[in-house]
């Protein structure tokens, strides 16, 4: 049984983070989403993987290589220009018989993968509260009758979770699939043809974490961190207070006077403190610095980035190779305490969060005493000058003075 993971997408709704990496390489608790799926699928007994890649595929290949460090084999297939899920799955035809397909941007549980891998054509299902953004699955008992495209007025709350078990027959249906109105070939259309001829079983999943917008990474991060155990491989100096669970990587030093409320995960070779305040649900990457008089909560700070002096960062994501100037602070709560609206790709979206700071792409620098308003989306390679106040969406490679 081979495990095919769809990892080709750019994930435009994940801008600004996906300007510089494919969606599946977004980190949750220090590991790319794709690695979580790989680990879970391996734990479910799958050893042979095919990654369907395209957008910035070199990053996936460089991180995972042939899969040896994970004791699995990984083969890559380049989808070329992405033309929908059916087109993507169609490209692996020469390499598979029976196989599982996972959407690379959703994290699936070990038992659910195991269950889907059992004999017979299957599709994973979940029940969610607001299914308007998903394909609705019509069932008769366990048998799938039809998948409906996104519905404004959904007939049920059972949705297609993005995990499938197929055999060779699917390729015949893929070949006959016609392009959707937006010009893509969707696997749901192929499945709708399949279910008129063959039996397909719906499998209800127990765990399912879908990440669509950048702030969903904070939810996923929180969920994973809650299950962590304490492991300290680095150095913790005297007079450091730690409550809750914490993971400290090799070479990392936590200096005197730091006050840490777990769960917090810190990578390798980072410097924490002295005298900083880390609150729950933080992932700090490797080669990072969180310095004196800084407070961080519920945030992701990626590798090689610094929150060095006199900073507040809450409910935020900081990309790689960023540096905050002394005194740069991030607002994460509106004064009227209402939901925070975000402008992403020029469109206004309700983040459905009351607390949300900024999402900062890679290679951003801020000047001293700059202030960043709630829900600010900052592109990669942006330069924010001293004393600047920024909000809304900032396109990559711009200067804000």
């Amino acid at each position: 049984m081979k495990c095919v993971i769809l990892a080709a997408g750019e994930g435009k709704r994940m801008h600004p983070l996906t300007y510089t990496r494919p969606k599946v390489m977004l980190p949750i608790a220090g590991k790319p989403i794709l690695e979580w799926n790989l680990l879970n699928a391996r734990a479910a007994g799958l050893k042979e993987f095919i990654f369907i890649v395209s957008y910035k595929s070199e990053m996936v290949r460089e991180y995972f290589g042939d899969g040896k460090p994970w004791n699995v084999t990984i083969k890559y297939v380049n989808q070329g220009k992405p033309q929908g899920t059916a087109h993507a799955i169609g490209t692996v035809e020469p390499f598979v018989n029976e196989f599982i397909v996972l959407s690379g941007d959703t994290i699936f549980g070990i038992n659910d993968i195991k269950h889907t891998a059992r004999k017979g054509t299957k599709i994973g299902l979940v029940q969610i509260d607001n299914p308007t953004e998903y394909g609705i699955v019509e069932l008769k008992g366990k048998q799938v009758l039809r998948i409906h495209e996104k519905m404004d007025d959904p007939t049920s709350n059972i949705i297609n979770a993005g995990i499938y078990h197929f055999n060779k027959h699917i390729f015949e249906y893929i070949r006959n699939t016609e392009a959707s109105p937006r010009g893509e070939f969707e696997i749901t259309d192929s499945i709708n043809m399949l279910v008129t001829q063959e039996h397909m079983e719906g499998v209800f999943l127990k765990e399912w974490r879908d990440v669509v917008y950048p702030w969903h990474l904070l939810d996923a991060n929180e969920e994973v961190l809650k299950k962590m155990k304490t492991i300290i491989q680095g150095t913790v100096e005297k007079n450091v207070t730690i409550t809750g669970t914490i993971q400290v990587g090799k070479g990392t030093v936590i200096r005197s006077g730091s006050y840490i409320e777990g769960p917090v995960v810190i990578g390798n070779d980072s410097k924490i403190g002295p005298n900083c305040y880390l609150r729950p649900y933080i992932t700090v990457g490797s080669h990072c610095h969180v310095g004196n008089a800084c407070e961080v909560k519920n945030s992701i700070i990626m590798d090689h980035s610094n929150v060095p002096h006199l900073n507040y960062v809450g409910d935020s994501i900081i990309g790689q190779h960023c540096n905050l100037g002394a005194g740069t602070t991030v607002a994460n709560l509106k004064l009227d305490k209402k939901n925070i609206a975000v402008i992403l790709n020029g469109k206004k979206i309700d983040s459905k969060r009351r607390k949300l700071g900024m999402v900062m792409g890679d290679h951003v620098q801020t000047g001293i005493n700059s202030a960043i308003n709630v829900g600010t989306m900052i592109g990669n390679h942006v330069f924010i000058g001293p004393g600047a106040v920024v909000k809304g969406e900032i396109t990559p490679k711009t200067m804000m003075l």
Binding site: E58, K75, Y76, N78, G80, F95
Partner: protein
């Protein structure tokens, strides 16, 4: 210039090859073809755009194949002349980009051995050379073939007896390998396969490669393995057509080391001190010539103006340069004059009308153009192809330098017929013509200095260009480039004429670009610069590397490599092009599509 692609992998080769050819069609689009191994070797080719071939290919399952999109240089645009070319038993197919110089001799030899030729192309000899020694190993046969070939080539070959394998070889024409997963690519250009992989290996001249689904071997001509590093291409797919350049114009400026070289290919041999043109052209040049009229429009007109200096200096025959739109009504014509029309597209309406007028009056006509089969080539008594490949930017760049190169060769050839040129002198010119691509590359490498100077020009409302001798038409072209893409008012003047009127316009806000070469007018132009400086205008000098005096006279100096008399016109042009480009870029102008202008003006 042609585009070639080879694919071996798991996808249907048909789809991959057609997609890639569409990406390569900027390299040529007069005919196209593919060969796919689908149990047997199956070949499809058609004249015209790639869609014409697409219609003819059935849905083959084969996963190995090669393709070609053609820009004719030898042989007319016909189905027979389209690539791929096949061996006599139709088991081996090749595609080729480049020019085989010794193909006539090779063809005769192969014909004697019983090989049947179906086309008029130089390329077809390659497949017969391979076929001649093929014993089941394609790379051995290709090595034997390229040892006999003289010229430039990128070759990709497949054999029905070795499915799942493609062979490539390169010499002076581009060829790059795309490294995929369970599939590999080879093409003239990265854009062809960028959709599928951004990992590439660049082949060097003299190298060969053997590619299968999951292996790539690079060899030299003695079958020694060469270790190659994989490189990563980081352009966006949208940038890819421009090979990573922000504008077609800049890409085309950077094409010039290749195009300046290409125009010489198959035409000069410095060893034999020979310049060769097609027979009809030779006949025109051999005849008694009392005068030459060059007719053209726009940039081609300025190329013609440069040609006037080249021809007069080397041959002493009087040359008259006239805008085609004027010549057709008012130009003088007689039976002992040669009319040279220059038109990149071969379709410029005014130039065609002038050509027809000239023919009617019994003059002999010769056309310099980029497009084989164009109307101009059919009207004239003879034509010379400038072989620059398609130009997409509206502002002509590489086609201008190629036109000058053709005129240079013409001037030399006429001088040979007129016995005006000593053997040493000719040898010297031919040798230095071959250095020109390197000089162009030198200028391109110094573009930072040009950007720095461009920042001083970007806010000017008026810029003057001056030069003496052959640098005069160059200053006209420099001004034309600047005005058409940056919308800054610009004028070119013969340096000596400045005093007779235009001087009134000089202020401290009117930069003057002076082209300075160390010829007999060097002192004069330094004096002109002095006069301009005295009026407070900033002076930008374009000067030779070895000129150490110029710093004392000009405010800014841009350099080009020193070479013998007349030859610097090419590197100077590149400096002017880059200057215009960077000024327009700093002013954020729509460089590839300036307002009110069209690439080819087919109305009068």
């Amino acid at each position: 210039m042609c585009g070639i692609i080879g694919y071996v992998g798991f996808r249907e080769a048909r789809t991959v090859l057609l997609e890639s050819l569409k990406r390569l069609d900027y390299r040529g689009y007069d005919s196209a073809g593919v060969a796919i191994i689908d149990k047997h070797l199956k070949t499809y080719k058609e004249v015209g755009e790639i869609a014409n071939v697409e219609k003819k290919i059935p849905l083959l399952k084969g996963t190995t194949g090669i393709g070609h999109t053609r820009w004719a240089t030898h042989g007319a645009v016909t189905k027979e002349n389209a690539h791929p070319h096949l061996s006599c038993d139709k088991k081996i197919a090749i595609v080729h980009n480049g020019i085989i110089e010794n193909y006539t001799a090779l063809k005769e030899e192969l014909k004697k051995k019983g090989h049947r030729f179906l086309s008029q192309t130089d390329s077809e000899v390659i497949v017969h050379l391979i076929d001649d020694v093929y014993k089941g190993n394609l790379e051995d046969a290709l090595i034997a073939a390229i040892k006999k070939i003289k010229g430039s080539y990128a070759i990709v070959a497949v054999s029905q007896d070795e499915p799942g394998k493609i062979i490539g070889a390169r010499n002076e024409s581009p060829l790059v390998i795309g490294v995929g997963d369970s599939e590999n690519f080879i093409a003239s250009d990265i854009t062809a396969f960028l959709k599928y992989t951004n990992r590439v290996m660049f082949l060097n001249d003299g190298e060969l490669c053997v590619i299968t689904t999951d292996s790539i071997q690079v060899l030299d001509r003695n079958k020694n393995h060469i270790k190659k590093k994989e490189e990563l291409i980081t352009w966006d797919v949208t940038d890819a057509e421009k090979s990573g350049f922000p504008h077609f114009m800049l890409k085309e400026i950077y094409d010039q080391p290749e195009t300046v070289h290409h125009v010489l290919r198959g035409r000069i041999s410095e060893m034999e001190e020979k310049i060769t043109f097609p027979d009809p052209v030779e006949k025109l040049l051999k005849a008694e010539l009392n005068s030459i009229h060059i007719v053209a429009c726009g940039t081609s007109f300025y190329a013609g103006f440069v040609g006037k200096y080249l021809i007069e200096q080397l041959t002493n025959i009087p040359v008259f340069v006239e805008p085609a739109s004027e010549y057709r009504y008012f130009g003088s014509r007689n039976e002992t004059s040669l009319i040279i029309a220059i038109t990149q597209s071969g379709e410029t309406a005014d130039t065609l009308a002038a050509l027809r007028e000239a023919r009617l009056s019994g003059s002999k006509t010769l056309v310099i153009t980029n497009i084989i089969g164009s109307t101009a080539t059919r009207i004239a008594d003879g034509y010379i192809l400038q072989q620059s490949g398609p130009e997409i930017g509206v502002a002509a760049t590489k086609t201008f330098t190629s036109q000058i190169m053709v005129l240079f060769l013409l001037a030399l050839k006429i001088a040979i017929y007129q016995k005006k040129l000593g053997s040493n002198e000719l040898y010297n010119y031919l040798l230095h013509l071959k250095y020109l691509p390197r000089h162009v590359r030198d200028v391109l490498e110094r573009s930072d200095e040009i950007i720095a100077v461009a920042s001083h020009l970007k806010d000017a409302t008026s810029v003057f260009f001056i030069g003496r001798g052959i640098n005069y038409p160059l200053s006209l072209e420099g001004a034309l480039k600047l005005k058409e893409i940056s919308y800054i008012h610009a004028e070119g003047f013969a340096a000596g004429e400045l005093k007779h009127g235009p001087f009134a316009l000089l202020t401290k806000d009117t930069p003057v670009v002076a082209i300075v070469t160390q010829d007999e007018t060097y002192e004069k132009i330094l004096a002109n610069i002095g006069e301009i400086k005295a009026r407070g205008s900033p002076v930008i000098a374009i000067a030779e590397d070895k000129d150490t005096e110029i710093e004392n006279h000009a405010d800014y100096v841009l350099r080009f490599p020193t070479s013998p008399h007349l030859l610097p016109c090419i590197p100077i042009t590149v400096v002017l092009q880059l200057l215009a480009y960077h000024v327009a870029d700093l002013r954020k102008c729509p460089i590839d599509k300036p307002r009110n202008l069209a690439k080819s003006v087919t109305v009068e």
